[in-house]
Symmetry: C2
Subunit: 344 residues, 2 copies
Amino acid sequence: MGSKRVTLAQVAELAGVSVMTASYTYNRPDRVSDQAKSKVLAAAAHLGYAGPDPSARSLRRGSTRTLGVVMGEHLSYAFEDPEAVSFLAGIADVCAERGYGMTILPITGAADDVPRITSAAVDGFIVWTTSDDDPVLAAVRATKRPAVIHGGPSVRDLALVTIDNRAAAHAVGALAFANAARPAIVSFPLSRARVSTTISGADIEDVLFPVTRERLEGYRQAAHEAGIAWHDVLIAVCARNDAAEAERVASALLTSTGPPDAIAAMSDQQAAGVVHAARSAGRAIPDDLAVTGWDDAAVAARLDLTTVAQSLREQGAACAHAALGEPTSQTASWSLVRRSSTRL
Amino acid sequence: MGSKRVTLAQVAELAGVSVMTASYTYNRPDRVSDQAKSKVLAAAAHLGYAGPDPSARSLRRGSTRTLGVVMGEHLSYAFEDPEAVSFLAGIADVCAERGYGMTILPITGAADDVPRITSAAVDGFIVWTTSDDDPVLAAVRATKRPAVIHGGPSVRDLALVTIDNRAAAHAVGALAFANAARPAIVSFPLSRARVSTTISGADIEDVLFPVTRERLEGYRQAAHEAGIAWHDVLIAVCARNDAAEAERVASALLTSTGPPDAIAAMSDQQAAGVVHAARSAGRAIPDDLAVTGWDDAAVAARLDLTTVAQSLREQGAACAHAALGEPTSQTASWSLVRRSSTRL
DNA sequence: CTGTTAGCGCTTTCAT
DNA sequence: ATGAAAGCGCTAACAG
């Protein structure tokens, strides 16, 4: 007791063995005689030695046995988004199985994000959906460690795990916009600036979040096939993915002149907000207003929402495998869940 | 390009400066001339050097700039508990501010948890509520690094951040059990085994989760003061903290002979399950059944539940400060929120 | 402002 | 089964 830091060398000395025997006691117990082992462990206990120093071990081994997860912008938002949380749980499953730690890298959106990435003691990175211009992407790539991006964007040298958002949006959009005259979309942000705004017929090419962009493209195609001009489609952009903001936005739309008769949202949380707004405005679903969600979360079943099912948990696990350098299929599956919130 | 690992020495050599000048370029840019700095950065760019190796740096500095969080049992459960998630967000706030990483240590409940703790490259530990007999506690203590336990148990040398659960349970129990003849409690697990069971007048001393134990003590006192014998109080122990299990359990209670007329739950999620069960059983709240929750989550306001308010987010932040070795008040605040789900 | 020296604590060779 | 040597990549401490 007492001295601040106990080293393996001290343990070895007290045990009367070489440093290597002490080291083997912790790393290859089978290659050490029981006698030597117990001498080492006794000495360790006596000195209060808790095991090899993790940093020294990482340096020597060249591996930290930890995966880094970059959640984008304010980290606390990440924990508030249930789909993001499922994704984390999927990563956690794999880490737990492998005995790996999982380091959450706090991103603030400011310039100091880059050094944080660069100085993270991790073996690989998992990046949660971000925008094309996110400097974090270059920082991750520069580390030359295995890395995977969930959702997008696609970056050279980095793996990508995602569903086909465009195809899924096309499919669910077809249900949402069936027999609609004035469809609207409740959307995720278009850029990292995250401004809330309402526009019509968005210039999709300018959208910097690839997931949002691809979904808008799918919705555009669905609108087109339903005989609706894209510039007639109102897009309500929400700064954050939550029910409250979607409800406010949808209320405004529904009480405006020429209110929408179909709203496709980008998450079930948003769709739940839309449903509440519709109830408050006295609209019947789907007759007055068709609503679709995304993710097939618990709330979608509860509200009987037509939605796109995908497993963020499985995708999180797939990302973890990729970040560990294991081969993984890049393309995740999705399916359409047709319920009573749409006319079709 | 090409060579697997680029070192600072190589960068320095190419730049024609000493290793220290290269090191300072990254760590004390102000102490290096602009000229030298740009030579170093040019060389680094040329070689594809992304910055000092984190493990080597940690070893040399004696600090990892990362905090470890132990969430207890299956990590994925942690992410499913909204209060646990708030707690994590509070830690994340502080880590983001300080430029620290946050390593989530996956705990499986098996024997291999201990080496995971021991080999975590972190400067301090935060342990989410656990049981008196959790081996993780000794492992954390053995590292001799700053550590803090949230909720309990209290362990020598380790900080503790918690509210006074006993007092809070006493207070909310008084509202729950007012004018009740047959009160019941929907409880968190009593031990890490996490078995679901229903007992009456539990032997509180045997409960291994201190948070659960203290709340039961508070409820017992409240029952006593309401003139109810403890052995008449039914305790429905849930394996997990979620609405679904609480709803099942409450349904069973409400359809039994001599159903409860008051139920105190240990979380708002559980209370929400109880409310749903009451509705299904056609019971009026609070006249037929008084219900109380805990935490004052969003759902509590929505269901107009009497509950105990506490900020897990602030407590998470307080834990982070403690784990960083900063002084922190150990005792967090709580307050009673009286709404319409109780008779008083 | 820049450089030299020393070693953080450990484990990978390669012997014995 | 055990040990000696070497060095992972970096930065604190001190010169100059």
